[in-house]
Symmetry: C2
Amino acid sequence: MHEKPTHVVLAVVLQVRDGRLQVLLWQRAQAPFTGAFALPGGYLLSAETLEDSIRRHLAEKVDVCELSHLEQLVTTGDPVRHPSEWQVATAYLGLVPSDLDPELPDDTDWHPIDELPETAFDHGAIILAGRERLRAKLSYANIGFALAPHSFSISQLRDLYAAALGHEVSATNLQRVLLRRELLEATGERRASGPSGGRPAALFRFRSRTLEITDQFAVLRPPS
Amino acid sequence: MHEKPTHVVLAVVLQVRDGRLQVLLWQRAQAPFTGAFALPGGYLLSAETLEDSIRRHLAEKVDVCELSHLEQLVTTGDPVRHPSEWQVATAYLGLVPSDLDPELPDDTDWHPIDELPETAFDHGAIILAGRERLRAKLSYANIGFALAPHSFSISQLRDLYAAALGHEVSATNLQRVLLRRELLEATGERRASGPSGGRPAALFRFRSRTLEITDQFAVLRPPS
DNA sequence: GCAAAAGTGTTGTGTCTACACCCATGT
DNA sequence: ACATGGGTGTAGACACAACACTTTTGC
């Protein structure tokens, strides 16, 4: 019988709040990294899959039903990542639609991802990896569904994309790209215009709310 | 103190041999899955990173210097994946250039990936995930360098891409795409024509032999 | 009428595929 | 000469960005 590592599951849970991409962190009360902020997660149990495990741990922070997407991100096993225990950590990326506001425990809160506090272990790098994964999939997949409410106007969706991508996005072109790819469909409803006037916005929904690759890495595709 | 899983590292090692994409497998002599074929790998030790660990295990099968690329693929922790032991497995994708022919142990050999024998555990699914990762990165990254010799003709490279992608590839367009993206450069040398004549082929090399993303998911890019 | 917000028309650019054509070598 | 394999020229299809313009509302 040989020594075994402890296996931990973590989640980078992202949501666009107040027009900014934010990540769910809790503040550690004990050593190591006392006072630093850490990703939610915990130990793996023997009867569960990795995905079941992170869902179970997240349920203590966020209602699991509010997670619109969950995918595996990376596994780190660097022996120096934890100062005392030999630990292997599998991190997931979770997304929450922008119209939800889950109840949170006292030690847990959202933090803008471009203004992170001091983070524990290697969690800072994992958070950045999660952001890059999200940004890439916004371009070649339909993952926008996981950031958006069920029904939304194009300019609302534009703001979500802009917050997640970190740069301005044109509503005109966003609409055309997503309609051309048949990701969006009109609900037929319209939103009343605001107090300052303006044409009422048509409402759209994502045609599918499960991950689908939509830009098939078009280069070098099979002959027709 | 609670129970811990055993952590295993595996590798999907791919190479184009005889014009086909092949994967390195060894045949199990003992239960479970006696006689079935399995991915190379083994237990993680406490002083090593995951990547160090898989390199160490692979060194028993293939000279590590012959691996032109190694990246993490997926971690599986389904409790039913192993019939008796509680195991978490982290799989890597490794690539070997087509001009190398490593010495192999007796129980280990290459198998065409589209004609797999019976595989142990969940290794069949992991192998397919590795193939898909390779196929995607051939389109948007320079990962072709890891399949090719240092110097090659365009038609040689075309055959490698065709084997990996599983469909015909046009040498004309492959050359143009890779030159436009500045992935290839001419070495200046030419290969003598064969016994049946033909114009001698110009030789090329990859400008970089480390992974670089070359097709920046062009959609929704930042305003200029 | 005027400002504000939403949505459409249109043009230009760049990338890719397909296919015709030209080039260099062996027999 | 002619077959063989390598390489280039060119035209068409498509997706995207940019920006001008039109539509629909509140005041």
